[in-house]
Amino acid sequence: MKQKGWKDLVPGSVILEGGSAVKFKTGSWRAYRPVWKEENCIQCLFCWIYCPDMSIKVKDGKRGEFDYDYCKGCGICALECPGKKGVKAIVMIEEGT
């Protein structure tokens, strides 16, 4: 892709479209990956509420897989997840392991 030169820029670095964050795949920042253990999930959807990047997919009111394109690996979901009888339904594992 040809990169923009200084004459091609919008004055004031204003972004002239809504929802453009979708183009920025923050998943590349991740050092730790959250992994969903469905057997321990009670479908409380805390993870969906707390995730700052909308990286928990929900379909028909049910928790689905992570969206790893945008999940930064912050671990908030894993911290907040109550799990089943104290056993977490989200665990963080180091990327590349």
């Binding site: 200084w6 004459k7 004055p11 004031g12 670095s13 204003v14 972004i15 809504g18």
Partner: protein, 392 residues
Amino acid sequence: MAKVVAVTGNEACANALRQVNPDVCGIYPITPQTDMMQRYASYISDGKVKTEPILVESEHSSMSACIGASAAGGRVITATSSQGLALMWEMLHIASGDRLPIIMPVVNRALSAPLNIHGDHSDAMGCRDTGWIQIWSENAQEAYDNTIQAFRVGEHMDIRLPVMVCMDGFIISHSIERMEYLEDAEVQNFVGEFQNLYPLLDLDKPKSYGPLILTDLYHEYKRAQHEVMLKVKNVVLDVAKDFEKMSGRKYGLFETYRLEDADIALVILNSAAGTSKDVVDDFRSRGIKAGLLKPRLFRPFPYEEIAEALKNTKAVCVMDRSDSFGGYGPLFMEISSALYQLQQKPALINKIYGLGGRDYLPSHGELVFNELNEIAKSGKINIIKEYIGVRE
């Protein structure tokens, strides 16, 4: 029809702002500007303007509020001095980087420490690299005229940059002078209806201000910002031409006084230029070819034009009412850079005067012109940078 009045610089600027009647005003008091925003607040409470005031808890917040209001799509003003301007510093860069045409009279005052409320140029010189346009004013009339012209310059669709209009604290802000006001309708017509560029409040076209731009494009954005500054000179001159048609008062990038055939000259900003013009007349009456150059547009700085204006002089003194400790005065650095490009250049010296409001007297100007006369004859400079009016 012009109306002749006797008013202070603060009063004149507040009236200029009233005549423009902007949408939003960030308000926070600081000496010697306080009286200007206080008057403006009275206009608001008396229903004379439709401006929305934002009363804030600091100048940092004031500039932040102005940035938000300007990005939202309003015509926006504030005013400040000294520590207030210093506290705005990081937000000044954001206003210019976001290309928001906020208009701000700056009533020049010394910086602490030691604490001092009087007029010098340390505050505005300290933020010369923030990307704001700076226009400097000798007296209340110029401060008034420059404030009105600043809207047309900053809001020009090719420019879209914030503008500071500088005048000397107390010496101009609090002294009563004879000057002329324009009619409200003339000012309204001159500045015209405010035109938006990328208003956040246009909800059908969502947009974002202030994105993260790293090594991939930041360098390009800054290059583009410099390019815009290069266009400012022509806009300033065009606006000045229109202003002259309306008011009869002529403005340029700088003012020259008896400079055309001068051998020796002062370069000096703001109110002290007025005092120095009398000294020039005195030397002229004695047959000595003295002259003066008073910069008006300091950012962007008109290097080529100023070099052209000074090229036939033999010796020049740049007078700085602020200092760069361990360096030359900030105005000297600019003039020196401008003259360096000439094949034949005048001898150049630098005097620091009037810090913290110390009086600048005609006798100071005389001493400098006498020294310049000696330098012009001998071609010899003893000391490049010196302080005048300072006790040993």
